[in-house]
């Protein structure tokens, strides 16, 4: 057909009797999704190319001689598509039966059970009973190296893992060997996936239980896990993640899609760095008194006494923040410092890696040098970096300061027991006790990011919120609540009831955050540049 005029940017078609208008170049699978129909698919993944080889997304297009793979068939004007016609259903049932010819029925011992696409599709549309009489072929399992284990019997040959390593990680370490029913995924050399920095993603994208994480193996069932949206704290990229928790313990971290930060992916370093959130030995009660005089007190006593001491405090204030603390905690720390006197030092320390490590096929995602989530937020809030690239040193002036010293979130691991000995008032807010907090007049237990609500600013200048997934231990409270209450008492304001209220105060007081609100940030975050032009 001659095509003379300019083509419209959108096409209108009918899917399952409903008219849909989508941009030109949209696949039928996507177009169906916009009107709420999910077409089953294995080989197609939104972050990868579509080879149309799993044959389960076939849909009926009126006028086409055969069923069409919806992941690669582009929507055209006037198409009439049936995703659920008898022909499409019959075809899907047939394809699923072929998948089950060799797929073991080992759902009870399979780690993917509960989030497995084969399980879901067969439950929805599969035959009630299998008709296979022949024994199933058995491969056993293969250690791919790194954190990845491969169960060949369960594989449906979608090749998502192979394409991820080829297209996104650009590190071709996986391939399909053999053909037909003997085909398996395999690695090339003995090293396998060992040392590949993004290989953990193949476990996430595997639609069945063929690729499983060694770390998560047999640890929890998918339906027992609670999912909490959060932000990865392992570097300043701030990949959007989900905390998967059970029994008040983080069981694993999974990437959460955000096309402007991390796509569908996250690095293995971040994925594996969750044990510290479950670490025992936390500070659980506020404590008052230096050295041997230290004793546990309740929050009311601690804050009232601290308030009196701060009111009568003399000398200037030195504030040590942390790039692992939320914007709200750091802001409230600043408010307390400013309410008491002149803040002569406002510093944070954070370790830095030697190199950045980008994900080649998704250049937005870079494992950053700064190994803390809120380096940029701390910078915007007036904190200056101190110390070296291991996150040590730089606190000489604070250690011997004779005024007021406030420390939030910094473990002071490199400092000795003389830290703060000469301070007029030394307040230590942290999740874990530290030998260097021996001279603290008040040790106040605060929650980690996994136990509180708050926000970070990532290396792109993007404000991102996180939500609490764990219950805090003992009487630990969010730093923004403790410091917000103190600041409110000192300045004569109202104690903040939520992190959103602290953020509102931050928005009013700090030009960098002007015009933002928690509602506007939402789950996917907002770039500060986008707000301020």
């Amino acid at each position: 057909m001659p095509d003379n005029g300019p083509r419209a940017d959108t096409v209108t078609l009918t899917i399952d009797g409903r008219e849909v208008t989508v941009p030109r170049g949209t696949s039928l699978l996507h177009a169906a999704e916009t009107q709420g129909t999910t077409v089953p698919h294995y080989c197609y993944h939104p972050g990868l190319s579509a080879p149309a080889q799993c044959r389960i997304c076939l849909v009926e297009v009126e006028g086409a001689p055969k069923l069409q793979p919806s992941c690669v068939t582009m929507a055209e004007d006037g198409q009439v598509v049936h995703t659920d016609s008898p022909a499409a259903r019959r075809m899907r049932q047939g394809v699923l039966e072929f998948y089950l010819v060799n797929h073991p029925l080992d759902c009870p011992i399979c780690d993917m059970s509960g989030e497995c696409k084969l399980q879901d599709y067969v439950f929805d549309e599969g035959r009630e009973h299998g008709r296979g009489r022949e024994p199933k072929r058995v491969f056993g399992r293969d250690d791919f190296g790194g954190d990845v284990l491969y169960y060949g019997d369960r594989c449906v040959m979608c090749t998502r893992c192979v394409r991820f390593m080829d297209e996104v990680a650009r590190d071709s370490r996986l391939t399909v060997v053999e053909r037909g029913s003997r085909a398996v995924i395999d690695t090339f050399f003995d090293s396998g996936l060992e040392g590949a920095s993004f290989a953990g993603n193949v476990v996430d994208i595997c639609p069945v239980g063929a690729l499983v994480s060694k770390d998560f193996l047999h640890k929890a069932r998918a339906w027992d896990l609670d999912h909490t949206p959060s932000v990865c704290t392992s570097c300043s990229q701030g990949c959007n993640i989900e905390l998967h928790t059970r029994d008040n313990l983080v069981q694993r971290l999974m990437p959460r899609e955000n096309q402007e930060v991390n796509g569908h992916w996250m690095c293995d370093y971040g994925r594996a760095n969750y044990e510290w959130m479950n670490r025992p030995g936390r500070l659980e009660a506020p404590m008052a008194g230096r050295g041997g005089e230290r004793r546990a007190v309740d929050w009311k006593t601690a804050l009232e006494h601290l308030f009196v001491r701060l009111q009568g405090g003399t000398g200037d204030v030195m504030v040590v923040g942390s790039a692992e603390a939320s914007n709200e905690g750091l802001a409230a720390l600043g408010w307390v410092g400013e309410a008491v006197g002149t803040v002569s030092a406002r510093v944070f320390r954070s370790p830095r890696a030697d190199d950045e490590e980008p994900l080649p096929g998704y250049p937005l995602l870079v494992r950053r040098r700064d190994l803390a989530p809120n380096v940029d937020g701390a910078g915007l809030l007036g904190f200056e970096r101190a110390g070296d690239d291991t996150g040590a040193g730089g606190l000489e002036a604070v250690a011997g300061h004779d005024g007021i010293v406030l420390v939030l979130g910094d473990g002071l691991a490199d400092q000795d027991v003389r830290f703060g000995a000469s301070a007029g008032l030394f307040v230590y807010l942290g999740s874990f006790d530290s030998p260097a907090a021996r001279n603290a007049d008040y040790v106040l237990p605060v929650t980690t990011f996994a136990e509180e609500e708050g926000s970070f600013v990532n290396a792109q200048g993007r404000v991102q919120r996180f939500w609490p997934g764990l219950r805090p231990p003992g009487s630990a409270r969010p730093a923004w609540l403790v410091l917000g209450a103190l600041a409110a008492a000192l300045q004569g304001g109202r104690t903040p009831a939520s992190a959103a209220e602290v953020f509102a105060g931050l928005e009013a007081g700090c030009a960098a955050f002007a015009g933002l609100s928690y509602d506007a940030i939402g789950e996917s975050g907002v770039r500060l540049e986008a707000v301020h032009g």
Partner: protein, 166 residues
């Protein structure tokens, strides 16, 4: 709805006789004196005949080599309405998934038998058993070894000859 008060009308003191009710009760007593009831079971000399569907304390089936049949799939703690099963799965030295910890709190259990019904490998069963006396309360949390030691018959949740009750 308005509250209504029901007033009980009792006979006044001294205006009623209990003679008739007393005689009625005594007649029953004498009847049993001359013709004893056959309902009473002389337990423990005589043991009751339990129904094949009796749901008592649990037992775990074992393989011929002594391993538990349980594969730690997690369905029984999921389905348990009383939340009385604690399960921690793991992998043994042959690469089989097995329960590292499997505990049932028999006090908490309501003996519904859903754990047996849901089990994909017919490992956990409720049993035809009711004599569970112990000296301490904590003995009622049965661990895996204890469950495997139990030798009473398993419950038949349905008659194998008539699975659909026809």
């Amino acid at each position: 709805m308005a509250i209504t008060v029901k007033v009980m009308r009792r006979p006044e003191a001294g205006r009623t006789s209990y003679m008739r009710a007393t005689l009625k009760g005594m007649s029953l007593t004498f009847k049993h004196l001359v013709r004893p009831s056959h309902v009473t079971l002389q337990y423990p000399e005589e043991q009751p005949d339990l129904s094949p569907r009796w749901r008592g304390t649990h037992r775990m089936e074992v393989h011929a080599d002594g391993r538990p049949k349980c594969v730690a799939c997690g369905l029984c703690p999921t389905v348990c309405p009383a939340n009385c099963i604690r399960l921690v799965g793991g992998e043994d030295d042959q690469g089989n998934r097995y329960p590292i910890v499997y505990e049932i709190d028999e006090f908490r259990c309501i003996f519904c038998g859903m754990c047996q019904e849901v089990c994909p490998v017919e490992a956990i069963h409720v049993g035809q058993h009711f004599e569970n006396a112990e000296y301490t309360r904590d003995r009622f949390v049965y661990d895996l070894d204890r469950l495997m030691e139990q030798d009473h018959p398993s419950t038949l949740l349905w008659d194998p000859a008539d699975p659909r009750s026809e």
